[in-house]
Amino acid sequence: MSAHLVSLPVLIPLAMAALLIALSVERLPAQRALSIASCVAQLAVAAALLASSTSGEVHVYSLGGWPAPFGIVLVADRLAALMLTLTAIVAIAAVAYAAGGWDARGRYFHPIIQFQLAGLNGAFLTGDLFNLFVFFEILLIASYCLLVHGLGAARLRAALHYVVVNLAASALFLVAVSLLYGVTGTLNMADLAVRVAEAQPLNFAPIASAALLLLVVFGVKAAAFPLYFWLPGAYAAAAAPVAALFAIMTKVGIYAIIRVHGQVFGPDAGLLSLVAAPWLVPVALATIVLGVLGAVAARTLTGLVAYLTVASAGTTLAAVGLLTAEGLSAAIFYMAQSTLAIAAFFLLVELIVAQRGDAEDTLEVGRPMAQSALLGALFLVAGMTAVGMPPFAGFLGKLMILQAARETAAGAWIWIALLGTGLAALVSVARAGSAVFWRVLPGSPAGAIARPVALVPAVALAAVGVAMVAFAAPLKSFADAAAAQILDRGAYVEAILGPPQGVRQ
């Protein structure tokens, strides 16, 4: 059983999606129950993997029993297990929130969300580059369908841009993957790590260009400058539970950058090591600055949160760009807490919009809200976490990044960018909060109070985010261990390919 545990995060949602398609749309309660059950099962599996990965063991699952460089492997190390757990937590909240009514506005919401989860989990687990492409495509086609869920011209317009940008990125991904195969003769990440380190100088140029093409592709997914323009429109147009689930999607891009540029092309990859290093930090800092400028300029709440998503992706990328154990550890902690905060924020914004009547999500004067105290408190928690103010987890994450950057060459730039944009982001969130909660017309509340089914997921996500402060020490030591594991290429290669003197062509 435990040998097959690694395959379950992909198999459970795939099987459940097939089952849910077979269930007729009229049986929505049954669909909701099964969809939630599937997410809970994924959380259980992810927690089991997380618990067993704390020892440092790398779980390798060879599909069909074919050995590693030739067959396909799924690999669960600390970072992968952490990402699986995060995905399952956000998925439970998104599906529970959607059960409040969003899932009735289209025919196949629950099956598509399960396909999306299969793609996400697969992308976190896969051990070779071509399957990373395949799982990316699975999660993308599901995300295209989810983005247009509910229809309307604004969603369709945003979806068309999103689809075209991602299809172009997929073409680049295939070029990079096949170029790597053509030069090194392998697509398995562990095998690739070995062969990149042993590459002939003649092959440096094609390998380096393939690696940088991959950086472009993952940059599109991670919404890095200058490739983030699709994100604010798409996330602002998406339904709230979909946008909450999309909070994990930018993290897939960052995860892939960590895997490929932190591990395969990591510090010990011979002469080709750290091929992406000159690009990562400048790109990340530009992303932070432009994301925060967008947040300051945003005229709607959804636009504000979408641009804060861009800024948080940039902040994570800046820490990844250090490519040190400290930097990666800070990135992992920041990524985990910002995913939860952004997801909670997207759910919360829709709760606020529902109570504002005609003002909707613009930052204009509106009628008073039925639950302004409760929603205001939640807004404070989500906003301050996203901005990175004490005592919330965002502050701890930023502190770790600043500490990690202190002694590096790019440190001064990272300090300036993070501290400066922190102030601007605080202004943007404070301005939005005061506009929405304090500048209200006299009169009776516009909307009814939020139903518990919608309120509970948002509160729970925010609570998990706050709990990360209380458990920051164990989480940080886990992130340290995960970062050390990423940089320990020898152990990774040995876990997948066996001892070095084994049969390798």
Binding site: V148, A153, V163, L174, S178, G182
Partner: protein, 118 residues
Amino acid sequence: MELLVASGIGLVAACGVYLLLRGRTFPVVLGLVLLSYAVNFFIFVMGRLTVGGAPIIAPETGTYADPLPQALVLTAIVIGFGMTAFALALAIRLRHETGSDHVDGSEQPTANTCNRTR
């Protein structure tokens, strides 16, 4: 043969990129199709160009055609086909909803969607 194949891929990719940058949805979808053709051919070529080689490695055959890129390209073709169908359906739906086949849904430049109410 290498020169012919390489410049052919380059030409198809260039046409694809040009069409991708057009303002109407139909040329954009065609551009995506051409781009994916070029990429598929590129994957195929990455197994090296061989004429009359056996598809598998056997000790007696000197040259062989690498079967892996052929398997990869099959996967890429299937995925590309599905994505093209979806993009086409989306473009048609957008045309129905907005009455325009412009990629922005209207002939006039519009404000960023995230700054407008839904």
